[in-house]
């Protein structure tokens, strides 16, 4: 019974399409939940910058506001631990998703990023049986997500030793940054057969190749609409084939239901892993059709799906 309880979302950034989709899904699902009387109130708080201390301060304020649970998309896995611990000490349930926190008292909802990295190599091994030069686009430096995907990719290269990573660029999961970074390394690189990415950066890489006037290799895509639309366009024009795998922004709604279930007294494991969202050549048309222009391919969770996901992880 959680109808009297209040839940808050602590978010540290709202400036890109993924975060906007995440917030929109959250808004949609939680306002329905409030209307249905499942919980008393759900409030959303976003900080002005992507700063750890600001978010920590925000969490400390949420403690003062007396929320029953706080759902966090964290700016840092470790540096918020002080604030998260304070929340737990105050008897508040803390659920983190996407950017998860390492404080043991909190719950974590995430995808298996390492697996996501390995999977990219699996796909490429199927496409390029002989061998290949890879360009790796990294995400935001010093984040655990970037690190996990990177390790996954490294594992993949170890398994499929005919691949070599010949270059690396830091794209910060952002198309403009990725375009710029790829442009700086491109002139010095040999023929590239494929680009392994972390999502949000594939389209920028394609733009960089276009600007340099080079043939576009297989670029593993994220789930942004521009990436998918470009892929569809290329497929229609020249039969371009690739694969996409990332975390769906709707994972925020799963975190919400997890928090609600915990408040309800259900047993929930501290670590919840859900499958990442994939788009393949077959599902591309469907994915593009379901994604708003400029938005992100998404999946939102209902309460039942969430209960199922919890059960799967037990």
């Amino acid at each position: 019974e959680t109808s009297g309880m209040r839940i808050a979302l602590s978010n540290n950034y709202a400036g890109n399409s993924w975060r906007q989709a995440m917030l929109e899904s959250w808004q949609k699902v939680t306002s329905q939940a409030v209307a249905d009387g499942v919980v008393a109130a759900v409030d959303t708080f976003t900080t002005a910058d992507q700063e750890v201390p600001t978010q920590a301060a925000q969490i400390q304020n949420l403690i003062l506001q007396g929320y029953d649970a706080i759902v966090i998309n964290a700016a840092s896995p470790d540096a918020l631990n002080g604030a998260v611990k304070a929340a737990c000490d105050a008897g508040i349930i803390v659920v983190s998703f996407d950017g998860v926190v390492s404080e043991p008292c909190a719950w974590r909802v995430a995808v298996d990023y390492r697996q996501l990295g390995q999977q990219q190599l699996e796909y490429l091994a199927g496409r390029l049986p002989e061998c290949g030069n890879l360009l790796e686009i990294r995400g935001l430096a010093v984040t655990s997500i970037d690190n996990l995907i990177h390790e996954g990719l490294a594992d993949g290269v170890k398994t499929h030793s005919n691949f070599t990573i010949v270059g690396e660029a830091t794209g910060n999961w952002d198309q403009a940054t990725a375009q710029r970074a790829v442009s700086t390394v491109l002139p010095s690189l040999p023929e590239i057969d494929a680009i392994v990415t972390q999502g949000g950066d594939g389209y920028g890489a394609a733009q960089a190749f276009r600007a340099a006037g080079r043939d576009i290799p297989i670029i593993i895509m994220g789930n942004r609409q521009d990436e998918l639309a470009w892929w569809q366009e290329q497929r229609d024009a020249n039969g371009y084939e690739t694969w996409s795998g990332t975390i769906a922004p709707g994972i925020s709604t799963l975190a919400f239901w997890v928090a609600q279930q915990i408040l309800d007294g259900k047993e929930v494991p501290k670590d919840l892993t859900v499958p990442y969202l994939t788009v393949t050549q077959e599902t591309l048309d469907e994915a593009v059709a379901n994604t708003p222009v400029g938005g992100v391919a998404n999946k939102e969770y209902s309460q039942d799906e969430a209960i199922q996901a919890i059960a799967d992880n037990l």
Binding site: A14, G15, N16, S17, R19, Q20, A21, E24, A48, R138, A141, V142, G167, E168, A169, T170, D174, Q175, A176, T177, Q179, R180, A181, S183, T184, V185, L186, P187, S188, L189, Y203, G204, A206, Q207, R210, A211, A212, R224, Q225, D226, A229, W230, P292, V293, G294, G295
Partner: protein, 321 residues
């Protein structure tokens, strides 16, 4: 006597125009980069030109602002780029026929932002650094609620234009060089430019000399906003769509190219060619470090060391009298 000859030779180095240093730096780093890579000299140069276009564009606006004197700086450039790119893309709606309207809408948006900044600075007497920081927060919010963070694609013609080349040189680069020449003429040969330079040296004296200081300050902030907006619209064309975070890179780099290019942070002295030197230099540094295969940590360390070393070499010892 030796003292004399020494000071004479120092005089010669001083006679080198300031902006030449940044070009020399860029050249050096470029040579290093393609030597390490063993290839790609031309590709690096073209890439550097293509991206410097945007840095120089916002750098021009920032340069005029910084020249207004100590404390003057426009921190709202990144947010303006983000918002203007969204406005432009939304108005263009992917249709070639609407490109001009989209550019116009972006410009209006930039002009309004510049005017707003000036109002904060003038009417509310807020120091520019904090005024533009505050307004950048507001612009971000406007951007979020206006564009919902969506990434809208540019019309094909705009995108093609930003990629087009003339004799191997990006057309956008040629256009921006022309813009720089105009800016240089405006700076040195118009009353507006003179007023900017005078205000930067001594605002009270500029007023007593009969110059219209306040109108000039307004124009300068508006100019900075407009150039940032133009940059936003073109950048959206170049990188295939608008995004709110697109301008983030330009917060530091717009200031960096201005000061690396020899413009005085204390105001009153500006240098247009130096902007290009500074922009090319910055881009070449990241080319070099990326080519050399450094991880992000080492890359940053070296970037820092190179910038400090470069500026220390070009500096001059000036005795206090």
């Amino acid at each position: 006597m030796t003292d004399q000859t020494l000071s004479a030779s120092r005089l010669n180095i001083r006679n080198l125009p300031v902006w030449l240093w940044s070009f020399l730096g860029a050249l050096l780093v470029w040579v290093l980069s393609f030597t390490i890579a063993g290839q790609g000299a031309e590709g690096m140069l073209v890439a550097a030109l293509s991206f410097s276009v945007f840095t120089v564009m916002v750098g021009l606006g920032q340069m005029f602002v910084i020249t207004l004197g100590p404390g003057n700086v426009d921190l709202s450039i990144p947010a303006t780029i983000g918002l203007a790119s969204a406005v432009a893309m939304k108005v263009m709606d992917g249709q070639n026929g609407l490109i001009l309207w989209g550019l116009l809408a972006a410009l209006v948006c930039g002009i309004l932002i510049g005017g707003f900044n000036y109002l904060l600075i003038r009417l509310l007497r807020i120091p520019p650094i904090v005024a533009t920081l505050s307004s950048s927060f507001i612009i971000q919010s406007v951007g979020i609620s206006y564009g919902r963070g969506l990434q809208i694609k540019p019309p094909a013609a705009l995108s093609d234009f930003t990629f087009s080349r003339f004799l191997g040189v990006p057309v956008l680069a040629i256009a921006t060089i022309a813009l720089s020449i105009v800016a240089s003429v405006v700076l040195h040969r118009t009353i507006y430019g003179r007023t900017v330079l005078a205000t930067g040296q001594n605002m009270r004296a500029a007023r007593f000399a009969g110059l219209s200081v306040e109108r000039t300050r307004l124009l300068t902030y508006v100019l900075s906003g407009a150039l940032a907006a133009l940059c936003g619209a073109l950048l959206a064309g170049f990188s295939g769509g608008s995004s709110l975070s697109m301008g983030r890179e330009y917060l530091l780099s717009s200031i960096a190219v201005v000061v690396l290019g020899g413009t005085s942070v204390a105001g009153g002295r500006a240098n247009v060619p130096g902007l290009w030197g500074g922009a090319l230099f910055l881009f070449m540094i990241s080319t070099l470090l990326n080519t050399a295969g450094f991880g992000s940590g080492l890359r940053d360390v070296f970037t820092g060391v190179i910038i400090v070393a470069a500026i220390a070499i070009t500096g001059t010892r000036q005795p206090l009298r």
